[in-house]
């Protein structure tokens, strides 16, 4: 993920149904006939994404709130966004 991508905002693909069930987020993408999930943790990353936080902002918040290793946190968040974009769940706001 490039620096400019880290500062992009993302929104949920309107073609995806999102549902919170027992501490997990579920994403149904009828176009690809796929179901994805995201286990909720104390950081509520999905809530931050929904509030328009960029990947870079989320990484900074996690590093402030936790004792995570910067490279690991950055990699995890980048992978999360990359995966959700690849699966058609998130779209970058132009």
């Amino acid at each position: 993920m490039t620096n400019s991508a880290l500062e992009k905002q993302y929104r949920v693909n309107p073609g995806v149904a999102v549902r919170h069930i027992r501490n997990e987020w579920f994403f149904i993408n009828p176009a690809t006939a796929e179901l994805h999930n995201l286990v909720e943790n104390d950081l509520n990353v999905w809530d931050l994404i929904m509030q328009g936080w960029t990947p870079g902002q989320i990484i900074k918040k996690i590093l402030v709130d936790t004792d995570g290793v910067p490279d690991d946190v950055t990699r995890d968040i980048e992978e999360l966004f990359d995966r959700f974009v690849e699966k058609g769940i998130l779209r970058p706001l132009s």
């Binding site: 309107p14 149904a17 549902r19």
Partner: protein, 296 residues
């Protein structure tokens, strides 16, 4: 009614004879027919066709009702003597289009249309047997229930036993029909059941006249317990992780793959309620039906 391993020989023979007869019999005047499925009343208007008899009549008879009150849907029927070709089949040789103001469902033996400007009317063209017209209601009902947040149509079997309703789910061949075949209770259906939301008494499980090898019942069942059937050499009930439960329940919901996201959202909303309120587990079952006594 389909012929399968559980179809008794006399019923099997009757179905074969009736199918041969219905395809070669000229249309006659058929009086109005009211069917109540999961509390939703369909009035098949009088038309020239074939009145259901024998096994077909026995299959739908629990859902037949006297023509009283205002139906939820009046169905205009037209009988055709040749099957339909399905253009742009989406899945299972079926075409489904769900626009905000009109819905179309078409298979090789039926075509059903709904328009928002006449919300209580359905137009149904069917091939020869009125059972095809009844079958055409399956997908319409599935999407109607979802859109209005009043339920779900599940590919499942169900039976009432000891004031509980056991709903058996699983892929084809998993043992759904076998499970209810052995029930010491009341069999509701072995192919499609409706989970009907009810604000007062919680969810009800209702049998349907759609498909199956056993004769269904229209009696609603309460206190549902959802079980994913897996063949085994022992009987036991196991918990299921929530992710697997959502994925497996969703795979058994009747919904067109091309349905707009709103319908998928409604389906996931209903599944959220199911997982919040009811037991959803795995049933490892011997095929002799002994799990009824050992586990339930």
């Amino acid at each position: 009614m389909k012929i399968g391993p559980f179809t008794p020989p006399d019923v099997r023979e009757a179905i074969t004879i009736e199918n041969q007869t219905v395809y070669s019999t000229a249309s006659q005047w058929v009086p109005p027919l009211d069917l109540v499925i999961a509390g939703i009343r369909f009035r098949f208007k009088e038309h020239y066709g074939i009145h259901p008899v024998g096994v077909h009549l026995r299959q739908i008879s629990p859902f037949l009702s006297s023509a009283e009150g205002i139906p939820d849907f009046e169905v205009t029927l037209r009988r055709h003597m040749s099957p339909f070709s399905v253009q742009e089949p989406v899945t299972g040789n079926m075409f489904v289009r769900l626009e905000p103001d009109n819905w179309t469902f078409q298979g090789t033996a039926w075509k059903l249309c709904w328009h928002q400007n006449a919300p209580g009317q359905l137009d149904c063209d069917y091939y020869c047997s009125i059972t095809h017209a009844i079958e055409s209601l399956r997908l319409f009902l599935a999407h109607h229930l979802l859109l209005h947040r009043i339920g779900l149509l599940l590919h499942a079997s169900a039976a009432i036993y000891h004031e509980k309703t056991y709903v058996f789910l699983g892929r084809s061949g998993a043992g759904k029909s076998l499970s209810v075949f052995h029930t010491p209770g009341l069999l509701l259906a072995d192919e499609s059941v409706i989970l009907r939301s009810n604000d007062v008494s919680g969810a009800m499980i209702c049998g349907t006249p759609f498909g199956g090898e056993h004769f269904p019942s229209s009696k609603p069942g309460c206190n549902p317990h959802f079980l994913f059937v897996e063949k085994s050499n022992h009987n036991s009930i196991k918990p299921i992780p929530v992710r697997n439960a959502v994925a497996r329940l969703l795979s058994q919901v009747s919904i067109a793959p091309t349905a707009p996201p709103l319908f998928w959202d409604r389906a996931s909303e209903a599944l959220e309620r199911v997982l919040d309120l009811y037991r959803v587990e795995i049933l490892e079952a011997r095929k002799d039906g002994s799990f009824w006594e050992e586990c339930l």
